[in-house]
Symmetry: C2
Subunit: 341 residues, 2 copies
DNA sequence: AGTTACAATGAAAGCGCTTCCATTACTTTC
DNA sequence: GAAAGTAATGGAAGCGCTTTCATTGTAACT
């Protein structure tokens, strides 16, 4: 166990290398490499001897060296806007679970809903030569696109739908969500319609779908608040106050997330509205608390975790060389009708 | 722009290398390396020429090669139980923000509150030779400890307090939280005391502090539910139903998280309890919704994001070679007295 | 004018792996 | 019993960088 310094530049606390293992096990480095990566090519007896030495020395292979040599890093990068929002957190959990079980690791980037930051992250990530990359949304800077396509690795865009993804997309049409919600409210019939929401690209799509479906039927009111994404309980509450202040008549409201809807609901409650007779609220996301508000929140349900799972599966297939992954993988959504609409 | 195949084993779509840049800019590879890493050592004019070539070719440095050669990866790994819980999500956001601004990247591992998984993750992470590692909590398998200390890199343990961390810890005493909550409830005086909670090590510590403080004063009731960590709204609701079912007299309850508290509150409301006269509830975490429940939730506030920020700062200092980071960095907590206690 | 410093650059070696191409020792097969 | 596998192993080269140690030219001092 003596640390015989060779001509090492940096004689740190013995970083055991594959060569060390080879020497101790009295085999060549190649054999050790095979013992680790393709054990079926090595005689069981040799394998065991090597395993013993590895255990004894506490050898941890250097994946930087391995990746450099093999051009495969077993790293998958994902860029999401934020992890503090339930929305993406669960997608990441799904993604991670699937990747880990396939022996991959997740490199996470948080873009903060900022395309410029997404570009910088992409560059930083590509420098680590991941085997694949997952992006949130389908709108990217053209530099990002160029860099990505130039890198020639599998790409999966998530949480949105498009006929022409960079490579493959896993998600759904936010426009269609907006339309569906409009129709749900329309079926009940209200005097006024409104949308409260954040301004991230996907929330905007949902709003557009909502507004378009109601075009010619009603002017959708859009309370003006400087909401950033993601928007909060307080945003929802303030927006609802504004709406109730501004007029009368029954009101159907589509919120960009359950959190916002929760805030809106609280304000409505506070002002004594009858729900859903006078005021209907539909959220988005079906968060944990949605069944437990008063009344329970009607919302749009998406399997957030499933997006992660499917994205991981798609990218793993692509890495394995499969050509038939398809351009667009759709994920279901539907309205969960509870008490608020 | 022709792809002149050299004797490349893998003639993929032109991965531009530093050597390519050097050739095109008519300088040696070392100079390009310096232009990227230590630009102040390069003549402005040369710098510019190199920058032009880099921009034109879309060169992205290979950090695997760089890391292998320099033994610095600019990677920091963090292992947290989950990212789906608000608790850790915000810590990660803080961590990430701080790391990114220092030019580091975050490699995330999710342990799912499982120490065995933590061990495997640690091994997988160490294989990527991060410059530092952040772990959640202070209880680890002894193999994990051995591997970690053997790796000889800066370590920061977060979300807990200990006099003897592996290296440095950033957090607070969960035991003290439990004591504080007990005293808060004690001051108001209730007939019965209970705790509803998850079974992760930190929640258990909080419970122990709570129970210990009340020892000799009251027997703390612990509704038996098979709650995993993290526990949910429904868990809280069910536990509260059990408590209310089981006896009478005024009741002071400490919940292991605001989510659980929210569920408990909902049930209490449903059963028509007067809050906080007959029934007091204290949560943990001061989540977004806490000020907006009915009545607003009294809870324990911790700056979750700050834990991430401080952890990042500590590890960066250590990487920079600072010795005076200290073993324990404490983060404040306090009770936010709202309507439920 | 001669020494000394510093700024700017390069040559060579090597980080720790994996890949390709042998090589050796056995089994099969006809 | 020779030809043709197949299983198990090793040698050498190289992945794309950074590091150390020179080397050059030019500015700064006596």
């Amino acid at each position: 166990m003596t640390g015989h310094d060779k001509n090492r530049r940096n004689p740190t606390n013995g970083p055991v290398t594959l060569a060390d293992i080879a020497r101790l096990a009295d085999v060549s480095p190649v054999t050790v490499s095979r013992a680790i990566n393709t054990p079926n090519l090595v005689k069981p007896q040799t394998l065991e001897a090597i395993a013993r030495v590895i255990a004894r020395t506490g050898y941890v292979p250097n994946l930087l060296a391995g990746g450099l040599a093999s051009r495969r890093t077993r790293l998958i990068a994902a860029i999401v806007p934020s992890v503090a929002s339930t929305i993406f957190a669960e997608t990441i959990e799904g993604l991670n679970a699937e990747l880990v079980s396939a022996g991959y690791q997740l490199l996470l980037g948080l873009s903060g809903y900022d395309l410029q930051r997404e570009l910088e992250l992409t560059r930083a990530i590509l420098a680590r030569r991941p085997d694949g990359i997952i992006l949130t949304g389908i709108s990217h800077l053209k530099e990002t696109r160029a860099m990505l396509t130039g890198a020639g690795l599998p790409i999966v865009e998530i949480w949105d739908s498009t006929p022409s993804p960079l490579d493959t997309a896993v998600g759904f049409s936010h426009l269609a969500v907006g339309v569906l919600v409009a129709e749900h409210l329309l079926a009940k019939g209200y005097d006024r319609y409104a949308q409260i929401g954040a301004n991230d690209p996907r929330a905007v799509q949902r709003r557009d779908g909502f507004v378009n479906r109601l075009a010619g039927i009603a002017e959708v009111e859009l309370p003006a608040l400087d909401m950033n994404s993601p928007s909060t309980f307080s945003d929802g509450r303030a927006a609802m106050a504004q709406l109730l202040d501004r007029g009368h008549g029954t009101l159907g409201v589509f919120c960009s997330s359950d959190v916002v809807a929760h805030g809106a609901l609280a304000e409505a409650h506070f002002q004594g509205c009858r729900i859903p007779e006078d005021l209907a609220i539909i959220g988005f996301g079906d968060f944990d608390f949605a069944p437990h508000t008063h009344p329970p929140l009607t919302t749009v349900r998406i399997d957030r975790r499933d997006i992660g799972t499917k994205a991981a599966q798609s990218i793993l297939k692509k890495i394995a060389g499969s050509e038939d992954v398809g351009a667009m993988i759709n994920v279901d959504f539907h309205i969960v009708a509870r008490g608020t609409a």
